[in-house]
Amino acid sequence: MSKKEKRVMKLVIAFALAFGIVPSAYGMHIMEGYLPVGYCIAWGAVCVPFLAAGFFSIRKRLQENRKTITILAMSGAFIFVISSLKIPSVTGSCSHMTGTGLGALLFGPSAVGILGMIVLIFQAILLAHGGLTTLGANTFSMAIAGPFVSFGIYKLLKMLKVNKLVSIFLAAMIGDLFTYCVTAIQLALAYPSETGGVFASTVKFLGVFAPTQLPLAIIEGILTTVIIITLQTYALPELKAVGFSKEVQ
């Protein structure tokens, strides 16, 4: 990171702390108008440093190697496709996947923040899905928390020398599930239950999201694995350029 970039990062982190800590904090796509104003601002502020870091990381990657733009575009496109597909689940209700795991593994978790937010803005404005007021909270759960967990799990499994395809599958799946856990917590913070407080609320919201999301998380893991197998076959030079693949097959 250059000096100027560092200065910007310090500034935005300070901004996030200033606005993010004030309210004690309220969660998958949270619907428009369903979060109190304080929480909307707080979650938005928390996202800013991550988004700034994402912007810098994308710019650095592209400056180093223009080739990586194809992988970036494909990661973004994958989120577009995956998050537009509403899939029936075992609980008798529908939900959709996040698709952010792929980008997190290929490009790093902070870069996905930008890609995910673009998708969320598209859905909030045109589809009345999610919302502009809840954009901050949704960006945090889908485009920041999920990808960071995916990335962390992938690195961990790699260290433990777990089979590569299995690690990709687990990373994408758990990242997807975690997104919904964060959403449940975000909602619970905003709407603590009168008898049991935040914790009881979290359990209630998780009860709504988790059973529906589990099969979808498995599908997301599968699709992410398939895409990466395909990319490894046909786009090895690009995967090397983003630092994902080292070994030559």
């Binding site: 108008g33 496109a77 496709v81 709407y191 709504v208 599908i219 599968i222 398939v226 046909y234």
Partner: protein
């Protein structure tokens, strides 16, 4: 693509399809509403009163009402279409490039 990878990919895709399709047939007559809506019902349940959103989606404000179901599915299709377009375009280029590279390599060897 090696034949081992081909098998893995085929198995995985069939598995993904089954996970998505089975609930539809297994749970006959289920509504399959969105889980986002289920979330807002839960808010009302916890609060004990019907929750009134303080901000309506921007499109609904513009057209003064909810987006018609057909139009909404159109917009979702556009989103899918953009994504698939980009993916297919680059994937097509990669596949062709590999074919061409493999061929060039083969000629050098000869």
């Amino acid at each position: 693509m090696t034949s081992k990878n081909k098998k893995i990919v085929a198995t995985l895709l069939i598995l993904a399809f089954l996970i998505a399709a089975v609930p539809l047939f297994a749970l006959k007559g289920a509504e399959f509403g969105g889980s986002d809506d289920a979330g807002s019902q839960m808010i009302s349940e916890i609060q004990g009163t019907e929750y009134e959103p303080w901000f309506t989606p921007i499109m609904e404000t513009f057209i003064d009402g909810e987006i018609p179901g057909e139009v909404e599915s159109l917009l979702f299709c556009i989103q899918t279409g953009i994504g698939v377009g980009v993916l297919a375009f680059f994937m097509g280029r990669f596949v062709e490039r590999k074919k061409w590279q493999d061929k060039a390599k083969g000629e050098i060897v000869r």
